[in-house]
């Protein structure tokens, strides 16, 4: 498949506007400006594009809601918080293809009649900040941003808002709070951001990758786009693959590429030819899969059928030398650290689970700990304010479900099965 998102990525100047324009960049924008904003939204709806931030919400529908709200100004926020452990797929877009994102945002803003945009960039990407700010400057200079874009009377202002180390700010309402200069805790929904978002105004939050798909959709048309990959959730998709594979990295493949193909063909198989033990398919919050499930196509509809989720498409591969209790412990430690503290079960429960896992991992596990862990996880699952807590509970439940013996072994033998 021809690369759409990672096109030209090997060109050292890929981030510069000249290189981008030379390879056909900003032509989607020009085409879009010939269309009615409504028609763009229709085109995106027709494309079947679903959000790449994790939840997979149909992008066209989200835009439709926001554009129907009569309040102005509207805001377009790009979610570049990329905090889900294992995920690094937005990073090449941000560092190497900033203009693709900017073009996508301008088209989206035009469709939504949004006049202001922010790229919420995680603080851990200082280099991306420099690149993006330079690219935005270039775009202003070329008249792609400003009060009267390309003389077409379209107004859109864009800037980078740097996050400061809080995973929860990837959640869209927490992200909005954070842009407003507040503690990044999620808001009560409804009202949804499309009606009451940043500074109380209709707001669309989209992932970097989602927005980077927009110029292509405009270019080839929604219909053609909807034929790429799995028609139920079409399009090119970036997969970031890491841990025990030969060639970790970001791969652009059609949505629905089987997990097995990605691991063994694209990523070169398990490192050192070792045995595959477990795969987390969509970032740390998604339930872990055992090797028998890897035939599954990687997309929003098929992964749930095997008990997991596509999430951010971040594949973490573990071979037989890796201790599952330890991975689980480290994952939960992450959730504890990142719990915003707003709701009781997540704030208190993640720490409790971590401490139980810590003692199991450290060889101090007690009988009944597995049941206790499951019980605590069940007490969290479905009862938290936002999906972060659910994620934590799912990790524990899926790890225990898939690797009960390993947990048991740890408790009984005070050491790891891998040792």
């Amino acid at each position: 498949m021809e690369k759409v998102l990672l096109k030209n990525i090997d060109n050292p100047d890929s981030a510069r506007i000249e290189a981008y324009e030379k390879s056909g960049g900003y032509s989607g924008l020009k085409k879009a400006f010939e269309m009615e904003p409504k028609a763009i939204i229709e085109e995106v709806k027709r494309s079947g594009l679903r959000g790449r931030g994790g939840a997979g919400f149909p992008t066209g529908m989200k835009w439709d809601f926001a554009s129907r709200d009569p309040k102005f100004p509207k805001y377009l926020l790009c979610n570049a918080d990329e905090g889900e452990p294992g995920t690094f797929k937005d990073r090449p877009l941000l560092e190497k293809r900033p203009h693709l994102l900017i073009e996508g945002m301008i088209i989206s803003a035009y469709a939504l009649k949004a006049e202001y945009g922010y790229i919420y960039l995680r603080g851990e990407y200082p280099h991306a900040k420099v690149v993006l700010e330079e690219a935005i400057k270039e775009a202003y200079e070329r008249g792609y941003l400003g009060d009267n874009i390309l003389g077409k009377g379209v107004k859109f202002h864009l800037s980078v808002h740097q996050g400061a180390g809080a995973y929860i700010c990837g959640e869209e309402t927490a992200l909005i709070e954070s842009i407003e200069g507040k503690r990044g805790q999620p808001r009560i929904k409804p009202p949804f951001p499309v009606n009451v978002g940043a500074w109380g105004m209709p707001t669309v939050v989209n992932n970097v990758e989602t927005l980077s798909n927009i110029p292509y959709i405009i270019e080839i048309g929604g219909e053609a786009y909807s034929q790429i990959g799995n028609p139920e959730c079409p399009g090119p998709k970036l997969f970031s693959i890491s841990c025990c594979v030969e060639k970790p990295g970001v791969y652009e493949l059609p949505m629905g590429t089987p997990l097995k193909e990605i691991i063994y063909e694209h990523a070169g198989g398990i490192k050192g030819g070792r045995q595959l033990k477990a795969v987390i398919p969509g970032g740390i919050s998604t339930p872990v899969l055992t090797p028998d499930k890897i035939d599954c196509p990687m997309d929003f509809v098929n992964l749930p059928k095997v008990g997991s989720m596509l999430g951010s498409g971040a594949i973490m591969v573990f071979d037989d030398t890796v201790c599952m209790v330890k991975v689980c412990w480290r994952a939960i430690k992450f959730f504890e650290h990142e719990s915003c503290g707003k709701c009781t079960p997540c704030r208190e429960g993640t720490g409790w689970m971590r401490s139980i896992l810590e003692r199991i991992e450290g060889g101090f596990g007690r009988e009944g700990d597995i049941e206790l862990l499951q019980d605590v996880a069940m007490s969290i699952a479905g009862k938290t304010f936002c999906p972060l807590g659910d994620g934590a509970a799912n990790v524990v439940l899926s790890f225990i479900r898939s690797f009960t013996e390993e947990f048991d072994y740890h408790i009984k033998n005070k050491k790891c099965i891998t040792q």
């Binding site: 990329e82 905090g83 889900e84 452990p85 294992g86 995920t87 690094f88 990073r91 202001y116 995680r122 603080g123 851990e124 990407y125 200082p126 280099h127 800037s159 808002h161 740097q162 996050g163 400061a164 180390g165 809080a166 995973y167 954070s178 842009i179 407003e180 200069g181 507040k182 503690r183 990044g184 500074w199 970031s240 693959i241 890491s242 841990c243 025990c244 970790p248 990295g249 970001v250 740390i284 971040a314 973490m316 573990f318 890796v322 330890k326 991975v327 480290r330 994952a331 992450f334 650290h337 990142e338 915003c340």
Partner: protein, 151 residues
Amino acid sequence: MEFLKEIEEILNRYPDRQGALLPSLYVAQKEYGWLSQESYEAVAQALNLPPATVKGVATFYAMYKHKPMGRHLIQLCTNVACMVMGAERLVDLLKNKYGLEPGGTTEDGRFSLVIMECIGACDKAPAMLVDTDFHADLNEKRIIEILESYK
């Protein structure tokens, strides 16, 4: 004053003053080295926000520093991918070689170490940021070589 001028510029990008808080805290952190009570007050004053609000926001985020830091800040990731690829050994190494504990600063004030959650470099794990420089594919030898170039 440079500080106020920078904040004034930031304010242009936001519809209200609180919007400018996160970037202003970065400016203050740059100016003061870390976020002291005094720097919260300076930001509060510049943005006409209550100091308690400023502090509440600042302490929510892990990348603002609430105590003095060494000359160079090592932000080492130990999340799952980095852990699996050996980050824990690097933490031990820093402890042994520089006497550097997570959250601590070397006696000579050269390095501070902060343990990070995922920094989005899992394909090149283990990875770290030193100040704003990114370093990946670390191992015990490489990390020392890299750190030795920061004086």
